[in-house]
Amino acid sequence: MAITATATSSLFNFNCSLSPPPSLSCRPILSSLPHHHLRLSLARKFGFSTTLPCEKPFISKPSVCSSSPGQSQPMVPPYNILITGSTKGIGYALAKEFLKAGDNVLICSRSAERVESALQTLRTECGVQHVWGTKCDVRDGNDVKNLVKYAQENLQYIDIWINNAGSNAYSYKPLAEASDEDLIEVVTTNTLGLMICCREAMKMMLNQGRGGHIFNIDGAGSDGRPTPRFAAYGATKRSVVHLTKSLQAELRMQEVSNVVVHNLSPGMVTTDLLMSGANTKQAKFFINVLAEPADEVAKYLVPNIRSIPMSGSTRPTYIRFLTGLKAYSQIFTRLAFGARRNRYLVEE
C-alpha cells in the first residue's frame, strides 16, 4: 500500500502547483525574497543567503549591461524565440505554436538528424523564412556558445529563450537500481545544461539593447513533493526552480531590469518522458486524469508567454498550465462522473 501511496503522490507532482507556495505565487517573487527570508534563513539555513543585504557593495554591475537602449527598443512581435531540446515533445509543440503566432523560432537538439527532420516538417508547415535549427548539446559549454553565435548570425537577437531540454533517461525505478549513465545523464542535462544555458542566455541578453526573457521549464518535484522512482529527476527539477529564484535575486542585486528569468510549468504532458513511467495503476490513473497532449499545453502556454513581452512587464512570473484548482476539479469529475477514464491508457 505504501507503494501505491507514493506513486499517487509522485504522479501528482507532475502538475507542480497543486498548492502554490506563497513565495512563488507569480507576483511578488522579487520584492519579497531576500528580506522575507532573512530571519527564517538565519534561523534554519546557513547564511549565504542571509549575508546578501550587506553584500551589495561587492557586486559589480556587469560591464556588458546596457540598459539605456532597452527603452528605445521595445519588444514588438514577431519575437525571436529560442527553444532548447525542441525536436520532440513539449519543445516541438511550443515551437510549432510560436510559428503559428508568426514568430521566428530557433530549434536545437543533441542530434543533428532530429533537428534536420524537425526543421523540414516545420518549414513545410510554416514557411522557410521563420524557422532555424542547429545541433546543440546543452551540457557542453562550447556547444551553447556556438548556439548563441548561430542565433546572433541568423536572428541578430533573441527575445525569448526557453530552457526546455530535460531528461529522465526514460526510466522509472528506485535509485538503488538506476544505472550510472542514466543518473549522470539526468543530472548533467537537467542541471548542468540548464545552468550553462541560463548563463549564456543572460550574457547574450545583457548585451542586446532590448533585453530578453528566459523561461525555465520545471517538472515533477519542483514544488518539493517527494518523487520516488525518479528521485534524481525530481532533485534536478527542484534545483531548476531554486536556480530561477537565485538568478532573479542576482539580477535584482545587479539592478538589471530588462533581463527576466521566469519559470514555466507545463504540468503533465503526454510525452515519452511521462509515458515511460506509465506502468503502475496509479500512474495510469493520474496520466488519464491530469495529462494533456503537448499541443494542448502549448496552445495555452504560448499566448501567455507572448503576453509578457507584449505588455512590457519586467516582473518574474511562474506560468502554470495545470493549476491546483484545475487538477482538483479534474480529479473530482473523474471520481464523480468517471470522466476521462481510459483516455490515453487502458486502466484495469
Binding site: 525574497l33 543567503s49 535509485l175 538503488a176 548563463r199 527542484r238 531554486h242 529564484k245 535575486a249
Partner: protein, 507 residues
Amino acid sequence: MATVAKFHIVPANFHHRTTQSPLSQLGFCRSSVSWDSIPPFPRRRVFVQPCKSFRTEDRKNGSAKDNKSTKKIANSDKNLRKNLLGAIKSFIFSKDNSVEKLEENLSKIALHFGRYIVTMMSTGVILLIGFNLSGGDGQMNDLIWYSWVGGIIIGTMIGSNMVLDEVSRAGPRNVVITGSTRGLGKALAREFLLSGDRVVIASRSKESVDMTIKELEENLQEGVASAASSCRKKLANAKVVGTSCDVCDPNDVRNLANFAVNELGSIDIWINNAGTNKGFRPLLEFTDQDIQQIVSTNLVGSILCTREAMHVMSNQHKAGHIFNMDGAGSGGSSTPLTAVYGSTKCGLRQLQSSLFKESKKSKVGVHTASPGMVLTDLLLSGSTIQNKQMFNIICELPETVARTLVPRMRVVKGSGKAINYLTPPRILLALVTAWVRRGRWFDDKGRALYAAEADRLRNWAESRTRFSFTDAMEMYTENTWVSVFSLSIVCAFIILSSTTGNAAPGT
C-alpha cells in the same frame, strides 16, 4: 554487469563475519569476538573492561531524568558491579584497579542523581508558578498535579527507552566520510575516531588522504594518551583508513564502497560530505568548468554515493544510515552569488525526501545533516569583510560543529531524520550574544583571529571535557522539557482562563 558482480562479493564478505553480529548485540560479549581489524590485546584482563566502559559510557549519555530510571540504573549498576566483581575475581584483578572502577561507577550514579535533582527543581519551579497562578483553586491544583505526573511518566518512558536503546546499540561504528581530508569532513572523521569508531576517509587526491590518515592517527595517539582508562579501552577499536575517490566517477565510488567493506566488514554510517562552491559571484562569472565541478561533486557525487551506500547497506546484516550534507539553499530560499551551489543543495533535499519514500521498507536510513555555517575554505573563499563580520556571530569552527553532530549521528535510528547544528536555542544564543561575538573570528579588517588547525587541536583536547551550556541544553534536557512543556501549557491555560475569568465579572 558490474553491479551484479558486486552483489556476489558483498554477501561473501559478510558471511565470515556473521557470527559477530548477534553477539555484539548482546553488548556484553564483545570481548569474545575476534575482529580482524583489532590489534591483539597485550593482556587478557583488558577484555572485561571494554564492555563495562561501553555500558557506563552510554548510560552517561542516556541521561535518564527521573526517579524511576535513576533507580533502574542504580539497580543495573549494582548488578553490573556484581557481575564485574565476579569477573574480576575470575581474572584475578589487582585490587586498586577494581576500586578505581567502583569510584567511577559511584561518580556516575552521583551524576545521574544530580541530574535528577536538577530536573525536579526545574519542574518544581514551574509547579510553584502554577500553584501561585491558580490561586488556591482546587480544580486547578489537581490539573497541575496531573500534568506534572503525566510529564514525569512520559519523560521516564522516553528516558528509559533512550537508555535501553543506547546500551543495545553500543559499540564502534564503521563510518565512511567522503571529502574528508579538510574542513568539516576532517573534523567529523576526527570526532568519530575519538569516539572509538572505525573511519574510512576519502578524497580526490591520494597524497592528501595519506597525509590526513597520518594526522588523524597522531590525533588518535594523543587521544589515547590523554584519555582516562575507560576511554582508552573504547579507543582500542578506533582506526582510520582511506583511499582516493572522486565522487563524480561511478567506478571510484564503487571502489570506495568495496574498500570500506573489505577493511571494515560493514558500513554503519555513510556521510556524503564532499561538496564544493568555487566562490561567491554572479552566475555570469562562473566558467563551464566551475559549474561542471560544482554540479558533479555536489549533486552527481551525492547521488552516486548514496546509491552505492544503499547497495552495500541492503546487503549487510546491520542497518545502515546515509547522511547528506545540507548547505545554503537546502531550505529553498534563494542563494544569489552562489546560485549553482544553492540549487544543487536544494536538489539534494528533494533527493532526500524521494529516497525517504523509496527506502521506507528497507533497513537503510537516509538522513540529512546540516552543519550550519562552518569556518572552512568553502565558506571563506571569496567572502568580503562584511561577510566576515556576519560570520563572527553565527559561524563556528569545524571541530565545534563536529563535536555536536557526531554523537547524534552515531545514535540515529529510523530514516528521514535531520541533524542540525544551528538549532533554535543556538541561534537564539548567537543573536543574544551577538555584541559579545563581534570580534570572535575576524577583526574589523577581516583578518582571521582564530588559531590554525594544529594549535586549535592542542587546545581542543583540554576543552573537550569542558562544560558547554548549549550542548548540555541539547543533549540532556530533551526529556526534561517534556514535563516542563506540559506544565507550561497548563500554566498558560490557567493564565488565559484566569484573565478571562476576571474579565467576565468585570463586564
